[in-house]
């Protein structure tokens, strides 16, 4: 019981409690970040920062080149329809 209290409340272990808790929280956040984003790298982060939907890139990588071309053609046709509609 005493052990679990100590684990849950690191404040007890450190006289400068607040800083210690914040350090633990920051470490946990970093750890969680690494766990939830195994793909995270400089290049991927750069794409996210640029505003690119990386989940769409990942989905596209899982497709065959033929499927990518078909999807591109659908997107191009849609863009063309929208462009024409603007001039109606």
């Amino acid at each position: 019981m005493a052990t679990s209290v100590l684990k849950l409340n690191p404040f007890i272990l450190n006289p400068c409690g607040e800083t210690f808790i914040l350090e633990i929280m920051a470490a946990k956040t970093r750890q969680n970040g690494q766990k939830s984003n195994p793909w995270q790298t400089d290049e991927v982060q750069a794409a996210i920062d640029y505003g690119i939907d990386v989940s769409m890139l990942m989905a596209n990588i899982g497709r065959t080149p033929t499927e990518r071309i078909i999807r591109h053609q659908i997107a191009l046709n849609t863009a063309e329809k929208l462009r024409k509609a603007r001039h109606l």
Partner: protein, 150 residues
């Protein structure tokens, strides 16, 4: 390809084949600019009614051996969109160098030559155009995601 035309898909469309999510309206090809290859290409796309983009009155594509020897690039409009044929790619070089930097990719049962990811990034960087920035960012992310997937 079936007509025996030597070309490599480059530019934005090569990016699409490699996995980019943007939309591009034209197709850029790096071609062998020998008269025999250009004449074979002319024959292969004749039913698409190709015309020169950059001539007054949109002149019909009518290549001869003599005119082929004078060409460096061909910018065409066809029934299915713009087709740009280039004999040199910035950052990579002439057709033979581009061909060496390409990979064979199967599309609907056809083996097409498409510029590889690294070379595509290199070429886009060499162009140094603001509009290529997004393509470079996407291509570099794709390269990393693919390497992690493998």
């Amino acid at each position: 390809m079936k007509a025996g035309v030597d070309f490599v898909i480059v530019g934005g469309f090569a990016g699409v084949v490699q996995g980019c999510t943007y939309v591009t309206q034209d197709i850029d090809l790096c071609c062998d600019f020998t008269p025999s290859n250009l004449l074979a290409m002319q024959k292969a796309i004749s039913d698409l009614h190709p015309v020169h983009q950059m001539t007054a009155g949109r002149k019909k594509l009518e290549l001869t051996e003599t005119t082929c020897r004078q060409l460096k690039n061909l910018h065409l409009d066809t029934d299915i969109g713009q087709l740009d044929c280039l004999n040199f790619i910035d950052g990579l070089g002439d057709y033979q160098k581009v061909k060496r930097a390409s990979e064979l990719i199967e599309v609907e049962g056809m083996q097409l030559r498409v510029l590889g990811l690294d070379s595509l990034i290199e070429a886009k960087k060499a162009m140094n155009r603001p509009r290529d920035k997004e393509a470079i960012v996407q291509l570099e992310a794709i390269k990393r995601l693919k390497s992690q997937k493998n």
